[in-house]
């Protein structure tokens, strides 16, 4: 790359900088920026790094709580779980890179989120991978799905962080823009959390890890653009992940953190060296001076612009106490990692970049990191809503063979077992996994304590499309319900908000509403938001994806003995439904799979009721005698009950159940009314379950009994009977059949 001789309006525009933003840059600098500075501003003020469109809304999310040690603003949130331990977690998207190169895009997404966690001093112990693709029958979507899953497996397995859960949803809406979100959780002593701050004038700044190449230059800017036909050409060099190097970085950084040398640390993620240096300085209220001539490089002839903007993976920036640099570098060398002093902390508040003696950029760090533009973009309620809301579902024809409908639903990719995915991920490393993938939430024990953690990721794009506010609420509620079913009290969330182009008022409205919904649900369920990620511009050729907020929920079990799974355990157990079923078919999987419709309103969610249902479920689990708990979500009650039957293969457990309710059988069986949980309990516990439900004012019906090798469901106007073997076959092979 060559440095252009002049900063023209064209060049400014190519950097995604508006004329107004450019004017601000001139005011900040008191002059025109040079090319390197223009590049630096363009990445730091990109949507991806500056959150310029979303900031005003995110500010309304609840972020405080008794157990919250660190909310949004650092690399990841930190939550106190007692016993001197804290959990550190966050979710991020890697949608755009994964579309360009699914394997490497997903792999580097995993690498990036893991760095965010160990940067804080925590050992990463779990990953979740919420994924969205187009229908797997389409060649391109298949290719993307295969590549993404293989990339996550390749990186996660090699780096040694188990992937204990996730999501896989397919829908036409993601065909031109898949979603690859990755959640990571780590654990750290409460008194040894590290922040990304550069303090102490004169302290050395150390560069650690992989050498810098031309990878991913303008990755952050790309994440701030939609795809069109020209995207292929503007493609930056694809970043390739090196999980081996990352593993060494984890171990070496955690080892450095045990000394008292470290002052601040940040990984080089989006916008690489630029972002890590100016954010550390800005947060520390200091300046940083770095010399690019000392930066280890993989390629020759790189100009300062390229070195500053490179997104080469597996690199970290450290500030250490003066006098400890030798000790720190020796430690990295022990792990065969490059470690070089590239600069020092200054007192002038500037990010000063030198190339040898020559100063190539000089910008106030705060201006880059904190004073980026903030937009109140116009919002407008989308017109399609009038149509979808008014859809009349009462005239919908009732399928004749409801048992076949149930099998079809169980075999549809969104409901079918995701084992073909998660069996490719190590999900047991660290000997913590008490509940493996395949139940409502994964449960990990916390070594050295009696505690456990439950993790779940949820988000329903269709609901959010049909009603963004309710969709936002429902995502939080379902995630919380999932960890509750595992026996855990919901603690806090992180999120990843995947939306279209925020410059379109309809998209901005969807965003604003969804965030408002999430905020309300988080307040009601007392699960603050510890951080997250916004991914805009998820569009191809002008068509946006369904607005898809994904929630990563963490719950705490005070006693790991309460860990519960969704599967029936014993003949003779009594099955209860907590919560209420209404005639709500809008936005359901049934409507889509059987009738090809994505209309109506999503199920109504009463947050007070939701909280009460969750409370009852937790209380009955803690009281003992509960064999299983499973929330009703995609596919409704019938699907949830069928899923409960799938115990270990060849040890089938059916049930004979009567579903009360006076409504269309399909609504009763497959409607997705919120706030419902199926529990099975020992026969001697039925009275106490009823009593607890009564105390919380939660509807609680006894459906019947576990036993036999068939699932029998009876109700007003229907009766269906399926062998558990048939259920298991439909559900167990659904995904692999879709992939054939």
């Amino acid at each position: 790359m060559h440095e252009p001789s002049a900063i023209t309006p064209d060049l400014v525009a190519q950097h995604g900088i508006t004329p107004e933003e450019y004017a601000r840059i001139r005011t900040i600098l008191g002059r025109d920026p040079n090319f390197t500075e223009l590049g630096i501003f363009s990445v730091m003020w990109s949507e991806h790094c500056s959150y310029k469109s979303s900031r005003v809304y995110l500010a309304e999310l609840p972020t405080r709580g008794d157990c919250i040690l660190q909310g949004p603003g650092e690399n990841a949130g930190v939550v106190d779980i007692g016993d001197g331990l804290a959990i550190v977690f966050k979710m991020e998207s890697h949608n755009h890179p994964s579309f360009i190169e699914p394997f490497q895009g997903a792999a580097t997404g995993v690498g990036g989120i893991i760095r965010d966690i160990f940067t804080m001093g925590a050992r990463p112990i779990a990953l979740l991978d919420p994924l969205r693709f187009g229908p797997l029958t389409k060649g391109k979507s298949r290719y993307l799905a295969d590549g993404v899953v293989a990339g996550i497996a390749a990186y996660g397995n090699a780096v040694g962080v188990p992937t204990v859960g996730g999501e896989l949803c397919v829908s036409e809406t993601y065909a031109g823009n898949p979603l690859v979100n990755v959640f990571c959780l780590g654990i750290a002593p409460t008194n040894r959390i590290f922040l990304a701050r550069a303090s102490g004038e004169g302290n050395p700044v150390i560069y650690v890890g992989a050498k810098t190449g031309r990878d991913g230059i303008h990755g952050a800017t790309m994440a701030s653009e939609t795809f069109d036909e020209g995207s292929e050409e503007r493609r930056p060099t694809v970043q390739v992940g090196d999980p081996f190097k990352e593993k060494l970085l984890i171990e070496a950084c955690l080892e450095v953190m045990e000394t008292d040398a470290l002052v601040g640390i940040q990984d080089m993620g989006a916008a690489g060296l630029t972002c890590s240096s100016c954010e550390m300085a800005s947060r520390g209220g200091t300046g940083i001076e770095i010399d690019l001539a000392r930066v280890p490089r993989r390629e020759t002839g790189m100009i300062p612009y390229e070195v500053m903007l490179s997104e080469s993976q597996e690199r970290m920036l450290l500030v250490v106490r003066r006098g400890t640099e030798r000790q720190v570098m020796d430690l990295f060398h022990k792990w065969d990692l490059d470690a070089v002093i590239v600069g020092r902390v200054t007192g002038d508040g500037l990010l000063r970049v030198k190339d040898g003696e020559r100063v190539v950029a000089e910008i106030p760090a705060v201006a880059l990191a904190e004073e980026g533009p903030v937009y109140h973009r116009p919002v407008r309620r989308p017109a399609y809503l009038t149509e979808t809301e008014q859809a009349d579902l009462s005239g919908l024809s009732l399928p004749e063979k409801l048992d076949q409908v149930l099998l079809d639903l169980l075999g549809s990719p969104n409901i079918a077992s995701k084992q073909p995915v998660w069996q490719q991920y190590d999900h047991m490393l660290f000997c913590n996994t008490v509940v493996e993938p395949g139940s409502d939430a994964a449960v990990l024990r916390v070594q050295g304590t009696r505690k456990g953690l439950a993790l779940a990721a949820d988000g329903n794009g269709r609901y959010t499309y049909l009603d963004p506010y309710e969709g936002g609420k429902l995502a939080v509620a379902e995630a919380a319900r999932n960890v509750v079913c595992a026996g855990a009290r919901p603690l806090a969330i992180t999120n990843c908000l995947n939306f279209g182009n925020p410059e379109r008022p309809e998209i901005m409205w969807q965003f604003a509403e969804a965030v408002r919904g999430m905020g309300d649900a988080c307040r009601a369920l007392q699960t603050p938001v510890t951080g997250g990620n916004v991914s805009f511009y998820n569009e191809t050729l002008g068509t946006a994806i369904f607005p898809t907020p994904i929630v990563g929920m963490v719950g705490l079990l005070e006693d790991i003995a309460h860990a519960t799974t969704q599967r029936f355990k014993a003949q003779g157990d009594v099955v209860f439904l907590l919560g209420e079923t209404r005639e709500e078919l809008g936005g359901s999987e049934y409507l889509k799979v059987v009738h090809g419709l994505e209309v109506g309103r999503p199920p109504a969610l009463d947050l007070t009721r939701e909280r009460a249902v969750q409370q009852v479920c937790l209380e009955v689990i803690r009281a003992g005698g509960v064999s299983s708990a499973h929330d009703c979500a995609d596919g409704g009650l019938a699907v949830a009950l069928a899923e409960c039957c799938m115990t270990t293969p060849k040890a089938w457990l059916g049930a004979t159940l009567t579903l009360p309710g006076e409504m269309r059988p399909d609504a009763l069986l497959f409607g997705e009314s919120a706030s419902r949980i199926v529990v099975s309990v020992r026969p001697d516990k039925t009275e106490s379950v009823r009593a607890m439900a009564r105390r919380h004012g939660v509807p609680c019906v006894e459906l019947g009994m576990v036993g036999g090798d068939h699932l029998m469901l009876r109700g007003q106007g229907f009766s269906l009977r399926l062998s558990v073997e048939a259920i298991h076959w439909a559900w167990g092979t659904g995904l692999s059949r879709a992939l054939k």
Partner: protein, 84 residues
């Protein structure tokens, strides 16, 4: 019988962590004189096609469609006559 010998390599600018690791392993093993190491794939395809010109078109298409990933890899190939 025709055989296609295909070499698929990472593009120059793309990081090759495997090659780098092997290079440093070789250095530790007493071969410090390896200044660069890149690792790619080598594929041997037996073809039913008898006409070398047609085979060439086919193999090129196979490479573009499946055997190489154009985003990060380059490929070259040769068609030769081998004993069946």
């Amino acid at each position: 019988m025709l055989e296609a010998q295909i070499h698929v390599t990472l593009k120059k600018s793309v990081l090759d962590p495997q090659g780098d690791t092997v290079r440093s392993a070789l250095a530790t093993l007493g071969f410090p004189g390896v200044t660069d190491c890149r690792i790619g794939k080598f594929m041997l395809l037996r073809l039913a096609e008898q006409d070398p010109a047609k085979a060439k078109t086919q193999v090129d298409e196979m490479c573009r469609k499946l055997l190489a990933n154009p985003v990060i890899e380059d490929y070259v190939f040769r068609i030769t006559e081998v004993a069946g």
